[in-house]
Symmetry: C2
Subunit: 457 residues, 2 copies
């Protein structure tokens, strides 16, 4: 039986069998205590074996990390901090582990644990991280499915390079030592897809296509950035959630983002209580208070223009300049939500120059219907916008930016026939997990992180 | 209100508002009929507008594909085949469509619809396909989450090339026209990840790592094949589901596969009745009978060796040879499940030479603990195995196959410390959708298919 179910027992149980990996073992001549974990929950089960067990002499040779099977009775535990323990009648070693096992009982740095990313899920911290990741994944689907959003798998390989081609990984099967050439230049028509292709940076554009057929859709899949930046918040491969809603404006978009984030936080508080308690105790003091506050918080809204005024009048000495037309930096974002509104904050209507071409132009001619959701301690966690649904306005904007409208004919087509106002946003899944766990490095919330120089495992 | 909810109404409704896209429009001098669809369900809603509507004269100019908003009363419909219709009091054109709209009311070939993959979701067939895809995605998660399996995001970019490097797409940021070289050869250490990397063909190996920490896990993500094959069953990018279970043998694996497939079929029958009815009527006659039979079927089991005997004694003239040691072809698989057992069939214990290095060696020295699940009309739909958990046996097998064990040190490590029997399988998600819808081309069950020469949209 899985430990999660067993440890939730309301009464003692006869003859149960458990299987898992040894976290610690203490053996004396008379008795042997083993902490067993099977990954189903944070807690381990204490196994107590005495000399009545047939192979008692063997037990002292079981190493940390060994895989074992044990059966016996689940009884009240006299030990502190645990309700149950298992009195072992039979114990079998399935796969032993010698002292070279890298996860011995001691404190390891996260850096070291990254180098054994194949074993770190067997530690307390990473067991909790990946259970939280699992729970939140499911919560994402539940939230959208309950609201009848259609889940769409947008393509990973893409020939569309409109969003910053410089950051695209190239996908190719051409012989790198001897690529086919035409007039001295690489002949991409001879590549696998008959075109130059790369890994997607966002499923939004394709998501919009589906929103104009199914009304409400969402994506949840891997996205990529070939940015050579080694920060604790950037990975080359990460998962993103991007809903897109038809017949919606920026206010509807903000409402959806608020409902979504609130749902996820409440879901985690309800379904991952044990893991969050660990994060609260060992990773980020006050985490539970922070999350509880967010779950009940009022979400404020402020335009970018108001935000700039607030920052200018703040009397604060910011590292980065505050000027209408410049992007907000993390320090500004945190000041706004922590000091000004003391809670989550939507900043809306940014200057068009610092936002993407597809965002809907406002009447003022200067700003677009964009929003960022800022949260205390982190800053931006969600970014979205109403999309430009007017064909002539969108085409003109693309030309202004030297983008060839023909290259995105399919994207323009949904403005050509049956166009409608629509909006959406993106949430980086790893940013969410970092926020909900207090983990400070994105490498520590992805099973096998990919960053510059690293694609191990 | 979304049409799915509205059409499920049990009583007439006053003053409701609907939004969607015009499928057809018939206008006379006195009345205008519009079929409106919003993608939330297969059925369209009939709007009936007469001269009491303010802009009645304008309605005749609404084109197929236009996006409109209408309000009025939902009343009993006198028309055949529909319970409700909407008597329009107000109608607004949100985005019109002129006659150049490519999805005019007529029968289009699937080939043509692939060329407008951004618009085909607005057709009956592809609306149904992508709603089914959505429902099955959620069913996959529900099945595993109910059983406490942990969802893991295995990496898309991988430096491990053990599974047929020839079929790997290369992922790179090197300048293709002038790649860095070392002694005349491309210097992969200078590539983004400091190594030669490609797109994953399977998350299984990494899934195994997580199974030896969390016991039961599953992956559900995109996988890739750079195979230059233009068949109706192969795509370069597709989604795969790969569960991995610790403390399990081949029989446990078969049981899980049976439970899983049965669950998905029942889920579709229950949640996608309207869409399946359409597939049954228009795409594959007898589909509903086929699925109902599968949901209740007994799953048979037969070893590969028995299967070869059955085929040899069948008196059939097969196109491909039947010989112990050769792989089963589709015609053989279909004969076995359609003619021999008349239902789904697990074929187990294949010759080791035709299966992957990681499959567990049987006692006979000739076969491995592999299984394929064959279903009538399709053949193989699931393939899996018990994995070799014995370090020495696995290492010896790798050496036999000229694979360097060091290259998969991390994979061997979980056999080194705390090894345990474990098993898993893979289900190609598109194959499943094809089976459940009767759609015959994989390009028609993926939103934006990637195949040789094609990465449009």
């Amino acid at each position: 039986m899985r430990l999660k179910k067993l440890l939730a027992a309301e009464a003692p149980q006869q003859n149960v069998e458990v299987r898992g990996w040894v976290r610690t073992l203490r053996a004396s001549k008379e008795v042997c205590f083993i902490e067993l974990n099977d990954g189903s929950c944070f807690a381990s089960l204490q196994l107590v074996a005495d000399r009545t067990v047939d192979n008692f002499a063997e037990l002292a040779h079981i190493g940390t990390g060994a895989c074992i099977k044990a059966s016996g009775n689940l009884v009240d535990s006299p030990a502190k901090g645990q309700r149950w323990e298992l009195h072992v009648s039979e114990l079998t070693v399935i796969g032993n582990a010698d002292p070279s096992y890298p996860l011995q009982k001691k404190r390891h740095t996260f850096e070291y644990l990254r180098s054994i990313a194949h074993l770190r899920p067997r530690s307390n911290t990473f067991g909790a991280v990946f259970r939280l990741r699992n729970a939140l994944s499911y919560a994402v689907h539940q939230f959208f499915q309950q609201r009848d959003f259609l889940y769409v798998h947008t393509p990973i390989i893409t020939a569309s390079d409109c969003e910053g081609a410089g950051e695209l990984f190239r996908v190719t099967t051409l012989d790198p030592a001897n690529p086919p050439k035409n007039n001295g230049r690489i002949d991409w028509q001879k590549d696998f897809f008959g075109a130059r292709t790369g890994l997607t940076v966002s499923g939004q554009l394709q998501g919009e296509l589906f929103a104009t057929a199914f009304s409400d859709i969402y994506t949840f899949g891997p996205t990529f950035r070939a940015e050579n930046s080694n920060t604790s918040r950037h990975a080359s491969e990460f998962w993103m959630i991007e809903p897109e809603i038809a017949f919606a404006n920026l206010a509807d978009d903000c409402q959806l983002a608020e409902d979504f984030l609130r749902y996820l936080v409440k879901y985690a508080l309800e379904h991952c209580a044990e893991d969050l308690q660990f994060f609260n105790d060992r990773i980020e003091k006050g985490l539970l208070d922070k999350l509880t506050a967010l779950a009940d918080a009022t979400f404020s809204t402020m335009t970018y223009t108001e935000a700039i005024e607030q920052l200018k009048n703040s009397g604060q000495n910011f590292e980065f300049p505050v000027e209408w037309g410049l992007d907000l930096q993390s320090e500004h974002e945190r000041y706004l939500c922590e000091q000004v509104v003391n809670g989550p904050l939507f900043v809306t209507d940014y200057p068009k120059e610092i936002k993407a071409f597809y965002m809907r132009a406002n009447e003022d001619g200067k700003t677009v219907a964009a929003m960022d959701l800022l949260v205390p301690r982190v800053g931006e966690i969600i970014g979205g916008s109403q999309r430009e649904e007017r064909l002539d306005v969108l085409t003109a904007r693309m030309e202004e930016l030297d983008m060839a409208p023909e290259s995105l004919d399919w994207y323009l087509d949904i403005r050509r026939w049956g166009s409608c106002p629509h909006a959406g946003f993106g949430l980086g899944f790893e940013r969410l997990i970092m926020y909900l766990s207090g983990m400070e490095n994105i490498r520590d919330v992805i099973p096998f992180p990919r960053t510059p120089g690293h694609a191990e495992f």
